[in-house]
């Protein structure tokens, strides 16, 4: 029998948690308060998930509610549609972004439109969780950031937490939401930081951008793992007397454009930072909205600092792919020239 570390379980209280622990706490909290919450996925049971996001939950809630599925992603996308239509709140896990594509059929054709196509008779309150993004030296097909694909689908909510506390509050909100939510977890952040998380069942709003740093000179918009580089860039800029306001989009769909516009009205400059490839990335949507609704407040071009339009490189080059604080700072320097 393999050695297993068993983590202590507390039902409530405050503690410093990693993001993956915060996900586990939110799942446990949701299962505790609502017995229709069912977890499904590959290796989520005894193994506790490949990232241990469901660690200990099978022992606590039983194999009926923490279900290891066969290795079948279309099923993991489609089975929750049936469960949800019958009044359950399934939370399905896909192990890596690269394995999520068979699920798209179910999400696009069914989960996202069941409520509409039955005029509200049936609905689909499911959550699809998946880790995304690079930076942990994973094998091929494990490191992509394909959030824009989901953000393009009408009928969904697309949520990406950037920190343990956000992961906890947003995941609870996603599970309680009456419509399907794609919940993409920045796996680079899973264990990178700890943060105080109050495990008392408080959800965060699913329609709000969060201002994580106040500033008057330039607005930096980002989400998920890229908040780290973005905040580092803001810190570097502060050393030179440049105050960058940093926004964590958190919920890409529906997008809280008002908070972004409010910030840009103040700063007149905006840089959008994302790990996903540049072309057709979600930054394009924000830039287009700024051009439409924020143009009169812009003093400089909107720039995007994003992944290159390349296939996500294997691990030896992935550091060259990911936007760095230096690239963000360079972009800020360019837009600051419009004094």
């Amino acid at each position: 029998m393999a050695r297993r570390r068993v983590k202590s379980e507390t039902s409530a209280g405050t503690g410093e948690l990693t993001l993956v622990e915060a996900v586990q706490r939110a799942l446990a909290r949701a299962m505790e308060e609502d017995e229709t919450v069912i977890l499904l996925g590959e290796d989520i049971g005894v193994d506790g998930g490949v990232f241990r996001a469901t660690d200990g939950l099978i022992a606590r809630f039983g194999a009926d509610r923490v279900r290891d599925t066969p290795l079948a992603e279309a099923l993991i996308g489609g089975l929750p549609v049936g469960l949800a239509a019958m009044g359950f709140r399934p939370v399905a896990e896909i192990q890596f972004m690269g394995f999520i594509y068979p699920v798209l059929d179910q999400i696009v054709n069914h989960a996202a439109r069941l409520r509409n196509r039955t005029r509200g008779r049936l609905s689909c309150p499911m959550v699809l969780r998946a880790p995304y993004g690079g930076g942990i030296h994973a094998p091929e097909h494990h490191s992509e950031s394909m959030e824009a694909m989901f953000a393009h689908i009408p009928g969904l909510r697309v949520v990406i937490p950037s920190s343990p506390a956000k992961a906890y509050g947003l995941l609870l909100a996603a599970i309680r939401d009456p419509d399907p939510v794609i919940f993409l977890e920045p796996k680079r952040v899973y264990r990178a930081t700890r943060e105080a998380v109050v495990d008392e069942g408080s959800a965060l709003p699913l329609d709000r951008c969060f201002t994580v740093r106040d500033g008057a000179d330039v607005t930096l918009v980002s989400w998920g793992a890229m908040l780290k580089e973005t905040l580092e860039a803001a810190e570097m800029l502060a050393g030179d007397g440049v105050e960058a306001e940093v926004l964590d989009v958190a919920t890409l769909k529906p997008l809280d454009m008002e908070t972004i516009l409010e910030s840009v009205r103040k700063t007149g400059r905006c840089i959008i930072v994302h790990e996903a490839p540049l072309t057709g990335g979600f930054g394009a949507e924000i830039a287009a909205r700024l051009a439409g609704e924020g143009l009169m407040h812009l003093v400089a071009p909107v720039e995007r600092v994003a992944g290159w339009d390349t296939v996500m490189p294997l691990l030896r080059l992935e550091g060259q792919y990911m936007p760095s604080p230096q690239r963000i700072v360079a972009a800020v320097r360019r837009v600051l020239e419009y004094a």
């Binding site: 105050e243 103040k266 007149g268 812009l298 020239e337 419009y338 004094a339």
Partner: protein, 362 residues
């Protein structure tokens, strides 16, 4: 009046169909769903049935003719049941309700961002006449302001001054302020008494006497936290603006310790290097504004706090001592509080306790 049955779209987006064979003739009486004609579309040969019963008045087209979708196919004699109308294939377009734009205005050749153009328009500056200093010859806001001859270039509020803006705006919006004033007789104080230290100790004593003023109030949840620990904000004015670094746990520190804390704080302020953790968490605030002038003031309570004590400039005043006039040094005190959560009695009790402590011998 004859009623016309038009060729429907028989597939998905088909435009026309060729008549293959008629199955009825003029004058025939047909019944609903009876085959009228076979037509060949790009995709299939299909039979078109009668949409309703009636007598055929006319057939349009011969075998081999190609009819466009929507063209008349069969006319029924008068008296036939009215066609319910084709409901599929005709997509009602959403109405375009936008007003027609005027002719596009002529554009000047200057390169300037929309926000800069707006500023130029506001200031009556001709962009073409502005010396452009921005990247690639773009006109910047500063260029426009210079051209407008403005002495002062508008600049964003920064740092402490911006924080002051936010805090004061919030306070002004949220708080229901009330102020009670009085004076402490400090004639008995020896020379060089540190006023700030005495005030800090007096506040600690007053918080024990009237704990409701050392509290946070959350208007969103209508909850109040009365604190045991006193985290005293000390309002400091600098050129950059107003802020209030925290003296931690003043109820449990002796005078020397407090003095050391104040010295450290002064150094930090001078160096603009106050640690961030010392800028948050105030449970009540002291403003020693008398150092700069003024005796009494309505002070601004910064949420979530509910009270702020201000000390004005101490002056010699004539007071009655045992029924006889005497000149004593008096310290004017103003206590502003959030009347939504603090009662007048609680405030008065607090102020009395401050005075009682200040008037004690050292």
């Amino acid at each position: 009046m004859a009623e016309v049955f038009k060729l429907p779209d028989l597939g998905e987006g088909l435009q026309e169909a060729e008549i293959v064979a008629w199955h009825v003739g003029v004058g025939d009486h047909v019944v609903t769903d009876q085959p009228l004609v076979s037509v060949e579309t790009d995709k299939a040969v299909v039979e078109v049935p009668a949409p309703h019963s009636g007598r055929i008045a006319a057939l349009h087209g011969e075998p081999g003719d190609v009819l466009a979708v929507g063209a008349p196919l069969v006319e029924f004699a008068a008296g036939a049941a009215a066609d319910k109308g084709a409901i599929v294939g005709k997509v009602a377009a959403a109405e375009e309700k936008a007003p027609k734009p005027d002719k596009a205005p002529a554009r000047d050749k200057a390169k300037a961002a929309p926000a800069v153009r707006r500023l130029a328009a506001q200031l009556g500056v001709d962009l073409a006449a502005v010396t452009a200093t921005g990247p690639g010859g773009t006109v910047t806001k500063a260029d426009v302001e210079r051209a407008a001859g403005e002495v002062a270039v508008a600049e964003p509020l920064r740092g402490v001054r911006r924080a002051m803006f936010h805090n004061m705006t919030r306070a002004g919006r949220d708080i229901v302020p009330a102020t009670v004033t009085d004076e402490a007789d400090i004639e008995s104080w020896p020379d060089k008494t540190d006023v700030t230290i005495r005030l800090i100790r007096a506040i600690a004593a007053a918080c024990k006497a009237s704990p409701a003023l050392n509290a946070w109030f959350d208007a969103d949840t209508l909850t109040r936290r009365v604190h045991e620990r006193i985290e005293l904000g000390i309002a400091v004015e600098t050129e950059d603006g107003l802020f209030a670094p925290v003296m931690h746990d003043i109820g449990n520190r002796d005078a020397d310790d407090l003095r050391r804390g104040i010295e450290a704080m002064k150094k930090d302020i001078a160096a603009r290097a106050i640690p961030p953790e010392q800028l948050v968490g105030q449970t009540i605030t002291l403003s020693n504004f008398g150092m700069f002038g003024g005796r009494f003031a309505d002070l601004v309570v910064v949420p979530p706090q509910v009270a702020i004590l201000g000390a004005g400039r101490a002056e010699m005043r004539i007071v009655a001592v045992d029924g006889a006039p005497a000149a004593h040094k008096l310290l004017p005190l103003s206590l502003s509080f959030d009347h939504r959560v603090v009662t007048g009695v609680e405030a008065a009790r607090f102020l009395n306790a401050v005075i009682e402590d200040l008037e004690k011998a050292e």
